[in-house]
Symmetry: C3
Subunit: 139 residues, 3 copies
């Protein structure tokens, strides 16, 4: 059994979901692991991980519209406002989605379903570079 780790840096242009599936699959294929387990962990508190449909971009649009309505930017009831109107909503969005994800690996690939992609969901408005830690274990 071998293990390896890697930090994936994801450039985000502001709020929205960035498809990181290809980066993940490429990293696995470089490591010569056929069968195992991949874990992703996001090292931030205002972005998160989401598995979501990879086909129709309207899905991401509707997801964003839903979250924006559920957790309004600049809600006057928030006490935590020093970092901007999108900051506390980002913390809540992150708590409601995923900080870590674990995906079985088979035949050298993360076993995503045919319609699945892994997204880094940036919840802040400004462009950010985000770090996703990858851990791979297997044979």
């Amino acid at each position: 059994m071998k293990q390896m780790q890697h930090t994936l840096t994801v450039r985000c242009r502001g709020r929205g979901a960035v498809n990181i599936t290809r980066d993940i699959q490429q990293w696995i294929s470089q490591n010569e692991i056929e069968t195992g387990l991949l874990t992703l962990f996001v090292q931030h508190t205002s972005c998160s991980l989401m598995v979501q449909e990879n086909a129709d971009p309207d899905v991401l649009h509707d997801m964003e519209a839903f979250l924006s309505k559920l957790i309004p930017d600049g809600d006057p009831s928030f006490l935590h406002r020093a970092e901007g109107p999108d900051d506390m909503p980002a913390h809540i969005r992150m708590a409601l989605t995923q900080t870590s994800l674990s995906i079985p690996v088979s035949k050298g690939r993360a076993m995503l379903g045919i319609w699945q992609a892994v997204y880094l969901y940036e919840h802040r408005s400004l462009p950010m570079n985000r770090q996703v830690m990858l851990h791979l274990l297997g044979t």
Copy 2:
């Protein structure tokens, strides 16, 4: 350290939570792993995993009522409507619950709490066969 994988097929009769605890425990017991880690991963974008109470069926009723109200089927603001009024809500429900779950294994069993069950939560209205990938690692 050994590892093994299995695809569990879950028959869903439409929207609702299917208890898959017994299937999981049976699969672990077939693999002669005493101590380790079990990971579940759902290969879809309109169903998800949920750990929830195993005793009172009213809990699942209230959970479903809450989600139905929070994310109304057929919301006219959704752009993604081609696959039916329950499809975009299914994607949102899935993002708010779990795609993967990791559970320590001890004495040959997933160490669920006494009141816990693992559910495959189907979010679409029509009957579906769903795939849950299981990965077991241990000694």
Copy 3:
């Protein structure tokens, strides 16, 4: 590759988030694992795990206010009411946050980001002792 498990007991004084980061890091450091994977699993259905900001306590206040408004205690539409007005909301809060978390370990520490803490989020009003199972794997 070695693995070890531990049950962390967390004393909660009622609803609210308890920072368990130090307990986790201490347990890892006792196990002489330099590189690996830590998994946390909560054995309950009315508390959960959350990674969240560790700096401004207003974040936890706003998080709690958001959840309290989204899922009102004593909602008369709930059928599951025998265990009190905060019980069904606790089950829903738990389904929307995390039951398990997986965090890569490097240099003998869980690789949390600089602003991240791991919280056990108690959703019931009464004081409770909660169990978090820890599983550590690595070299």
